[in-house]
């Protein structure tokens, strides 16, 4: 815990850049270790087939994790992404119903339904003030119940033309990965270049300071959730095109919710919000995909893979935490020096904002009538 706030802000500015760089370095390291390990077993991790395999693994989790990054930056989270993806795959596949002429209809409807899920999530969190954990967990249950009741097995039929989304490759790079990277680039632009993106950092850093700075915190949160669910919908469409039909349980049972949160955190985004970015998340997804591919090639027991994953995630976050001990303390109302922690949160807003000293988030319920 440092005593001065000014220099820290500058250090943080630089730190942000280097965090992403470090995670990409970690990815390269993982890749090199993987190449050596696979090579010692007589294989080649960088063969065309393995690279295609590795990149294919990134796209589904990539879409979901990019969306998850946005909500986590807002200090929210979304546990319903797996269910949203399943819903989108079924909506898309049933509407397309094997007719190439209805691909656009299916895609638009699937994304629209996903967006509505996100809208409801966002409104329940901001309007009804339900904790995001519970709101999205509940939303997941609601969708699960609907899917299990309405659709017992695979439904719908994805036209061959749309299956290309899942299987087309340009060189060794699957089309889906390119789309995922394009979405990632759009998210980077959103976060770094637009007012809404800056607002997301501000809301996640200190919602009260953001509100007092004139940011519409509620709208920002809702927007993040809509984008997150829409990204999950994209993942669902991709899965539908790969399965060539709409499936429920296979998608929501795959654990994308917790995996995507792990990827985001592995990518250096703080679970407490306000810090991080999509660049790191993509690297986090790549690290997880590389691990999976390497474990597969080495024929590591899938259960041992789970153990290693758990250890790696904890170890990585512990390493990040070492580097930013004082930055993780977002929930504190005042620091060891007695100054509000919010006093150093302002740099994400444009300009030298110095949030008021009254940053302890006391919440709406602190109004005197209630206390009396």
């Amino acid at each position: 815990m440092s005593t001065s706030t000014g220099p820290i802000a500058q250090v943080r500015e630089r730190f942000d850049l280097s965090t992403t760089a470090i995670i990409w370095l970690a990815f390269l390291l993982t890749l090199v270790v993987g190449v050596v390990l696979v090579g010692s077993g007589g294989g080649n991790l960088l063969s065309q087939g393995n690279i295609v395999n590795l990149l294919s693994r990134t796209s589904v989790l990539g879409f979901i994790a990019i969306g998850q990054t946005l909500v986590i930056l807002c200090r929210s989270l979304d546990l319903s992404v797996g269910y949203t993806a399943a819903l989108a795959s079924i909506v898309g596949a049933t509407l397309m119903d094997g007719d190439p002429g209805r691909i656009v209809l299916g895609v638009v409807a699937a994304l629209a339904v996903s967006a509505v899920v996100g809208l409801v999530n966002g409104l329940v969190i901001t309007g009804l003030r339900v904790n995001p954990f519970i709101a999205t967990l509940g939303m997941g249950l609601i969708i699960k119940g609907y899917l299990d009741t309405r659709y017992a097995g695979p439904v719908g039929d994805v036209p061959v033309a749309f299956q290309g989304f899942g299987y087309t490759r340009i060189g060794p790079v699957p089309l889906a990965t390119i789309v995922m990277l394009a979405v990632a680039a759009a998210a980077v632009v959103l976060l770094n270049r637009t007012r809404s993106g800056h607002a997301m950092y501000a809301v996640g850093g200190n919602v009260e300071a953001a509100r007092l700075s004139g940011i519409r915190t509620g709208r920002t949160m809702v927007l993040a959730h809509v984008l997150c669910s829409t990204a999950a919908g994209l993942a669902g469409l991709l899965l539908a095109s790969r399965f060539s039909t709409g499936v429920g349980a296979q998608i929501y049972g795959a654990g994308y919710d917790l995996d995507s949160i792990a990827a985001v955190v592995l990518g250096g985004t703080l679970l407490m919000g306000g810090r991080g970015g999509v660049g790191g998340t993509v690297a986090g997804v790549l690290i997880l995909a590389t691990l999976d591919t390497v474990f597969n090639l080495l024929q590591v027991d899938p259960f041992f893979r789970d153990v290693l994953r758990g250890v790696i995630i904890i170890a990585a976050v512990a390493l990040y935490a070492r580097r930013q001990l004082d930055l993780t303390a977002h929930r504190q109302r005042f620091t060891a020096s007695g100054r509000p922690i919010g006093a150093s949160e302002g740099e994400h807003l444009s300009g030298p904002s110095d949030p008021p000293e009254s940053s302890p988030p006391s919440g709406p319920s602190s109004n005197p009538e209630v206390l009396a």
Partner: protein, 345 residues
Amino acid sequence: MSSLRERSGAAAGLLNRLTSGTATIFALLVVVLVVITILNPTFARPASLMAFLRAAAPLVVLAIGQYLVIVSGEFDLSVGALVGAQVVFAAKMIDGDPSRTWPVLAAMLVLGAVVGLVNGLITTLLKVPSFITTLGMLLVLFGAVRLWTGGAPTGALADNFRTWGRGGIDMPVLRQLPWALVIAVVIAIAVGLLMRAPWGRTLVATGDNDTAASFAGVRVWRVRTVAFVLSGVLATVAAILIGGFAGVTAQVGDGLEFVAITAVVLGGVVLGGGRGSMIAAIAGALAYQAIERLFTQLALPSTARPTLQGIIIIAAVAWAAREGSRGPGAANTPAPDASADPAPA
């Protein structure tokens, strides 16, 4: 005059308390139980009430452990995997031999405490958010147990192990007082006393504001680590009850962490810490179980249940979170302030 005003103030205070998050859960519990009884009057018989409580006891124990962690401002997502790991561990070690039950029970409790200790130390000393720590622990436990048993659980639980979950003391009126209920009540009383003791006060203070607590002389890392250890031990107790009640399957414990967190939050305990009572968390667990029982009573298709559950959970938490029903500090969670949009200029 003044006494009248005082009285109306007291009445308002009482009203406020009755409609607060904590009271909501008791009202919900009573309503659900009454509805079940109306639909099926035999439910009110002591014997079937005891059966209900026996089935609810593991969740109550889990909820108490989760409450300790949540009120200190953390999460424990590893309890479901821990329950599963413990049941499979017990089956493999006991392998149907009653003479091994007691040593294995002791080993399970130690294992649970160690898992909690690791969770606590990684969270407090290495500063890893508990969501990630316990998520990683979930993966480790899930994988390790299956790695060890080769995928499917092996061995069997002895009868003297299973009696804790399904047996009881024969009695005249109740027919049988389940051991599970006795254990849950003993744990509730013990933890209730602990929460009234200095340690409990410091735990809540830590969850409310850990910096202020550490200024006041609390060793925050120790208090939280103990909470994780207790959560691990209580999850182990729950595993003993569940293993006895339901037996060994590969899926045992799956998703239980979310059920436990839901039960605690239903009880009006605020995620983020510092707010909520243990009794309400227990009521949350009972209400969760009662809602499941109600679904069975209504013969709802099992596939539709999650939808209703989701709606009830969100509605209950939204009701508890509505304007003015929570004290200061509720804003530890990100959501509350977000609604306070500044009016458009």
